[in-house]
Symmetry: C2
Subunit: 234 residues, 2 copies
């Protein structure tokens, strides 16, 4: 009997006991072997999620954030011995705008059962809260790292939306949020819907969808260094 | 003081008390005015989610599933009088592959605070469980209703994935699942990754990602009339 691979979401900010469903919390409690981006954050998370064992008894393997994951086969080996593994995200849902997909793919290759657990995802919350097209949408990760190309990127997404009214969304390094916001005001058409979804699920939430012409009329929100999701629709 | 618009996810199958976080359940308890696709399902949901008032005291307005929503202004009027509204999905998260976005957009237009609550979404769970690219993905809703065009649609998504390794996903009317599955085997290239995510979050879950050449070697899974999400990546 092989182990199972559980995909464990973590809160975006706030208390796991309030932000995760009972079912997710109870599955976490049954796991003793975890894979996480950072062992320290993972330990802290498990403790605040009511993990029943002494935390020193949980095995936690770290995966590097941005490199190819080379220890895959060794770290996943326990699955073949019937031990279940919990894959933890740093914040939000594993595999969504975060590393971890490679691990899930390897599990499928080995015929391991993959079980995604319910929890917060800033992308999903942003899409819901935007009111934009949730029947047809594309997530693009980050826009161009070159400042002078951001406007071009935005116009490309806008054009693509024009054909099918799809929603296009992306994230940005938080210290560049104001640049992106300004580029949207400068480059998108007056009637295009533009949505800023910032720190959802916290007490500092900012959530607003307006046409570009309306954004232009009001003072810009302060988005500097706040985790944001940007969405647009023509 | 204006009311707030809460976006309330509902379980995909199973017990709301186990599948929704405490925070979501407690927000639901504080609301007395709801908008839902079907009042009957909404009432049943509220009761099983531990709604504290006699259910007859909750006001529930129905929105038509597939038509333009014409009573928008009337039904949302309580927001202006300081009454908060809960927008309920039939299953999963409101505004994601379901109507409701129009309501959220109107709220933004009126300057109403929109608060998305955490809960299950079959699309998000499918994307997580697939192990495909969660940093760049497009959801396409339904493929062509014409049987003979499904293969062409699939090849178009595959081509689009070839350029940027993005993940493309879609849903299908459950009685057409086997047609779509067969069309994928017939039309996609041998090395393309194809993922079938079926009835996630239930005891009948089927979750598998394989290359087309591997799918071709094994017996087809029985997907008939089971809610599925299909994903592919070149």
């Amino acid at each position: 009997m092989k182990g199972k691979l559980f995909l464990i979401p973590t809160p975006i900010g706030g208390d796991p006991l309030k932000q995760l469903p009972k079912e997710t919390l109870s599955q976490i409690s049954s796991i003793t072997y975890f894979i996480a981006e950072r062992a320290r954050t993972a330990r802290r998370f498990l403790q605040s999620a009511g993990y029943p064992l002494p935390i020193s008894e949980a095995i936690i393997r770290e995966i590097p954030k941005k490199q190819a994951y080379t220890h895959l086969v060794t770290d996943l080996a326990p699955l073949k011995d019937g031990i279940s593994i919990g894959l933890l995200s740093e914040a939000g849902s594993p595999g969504i705008a975060d590393p971890g997909s490679e691990i899930v793919r390897k599990a499928h290759e080995w015929g391991i059962q993959v079980i995604p657990l319910t929890g917060p995802s800033s992308l999903l919350l942003a899409l819901m809260a935007s009111g934009l097209n949730g029947q047809k949408f594309s997530f693009h990760g980050y826009l161009s790292p070159k400042k002078e190309l951001i406007g071009k990127d935005l116009r490309r997404l806008e054009n693509s939306s024009k054909n099918d009214r799809s929603c296009h969304f992306f994230i940005e390094a938080p210290y560049r949020n104001m640049q992106v916001f300004q580029a949207a005001l400068d480059n998108l058409q007056a009637t295009t819907l533009f949505s800023v979804q910032c720190e959802l699920n916290t007490s500092d939430t900012f959530s607003k969808t307006l046409r570009i012409e309306e954004w232009r009329k009001q003072p810009s929100p302060d988005l500097h260094k706040r985790p944001c999701v940007f969405l647009l629709q023509s």
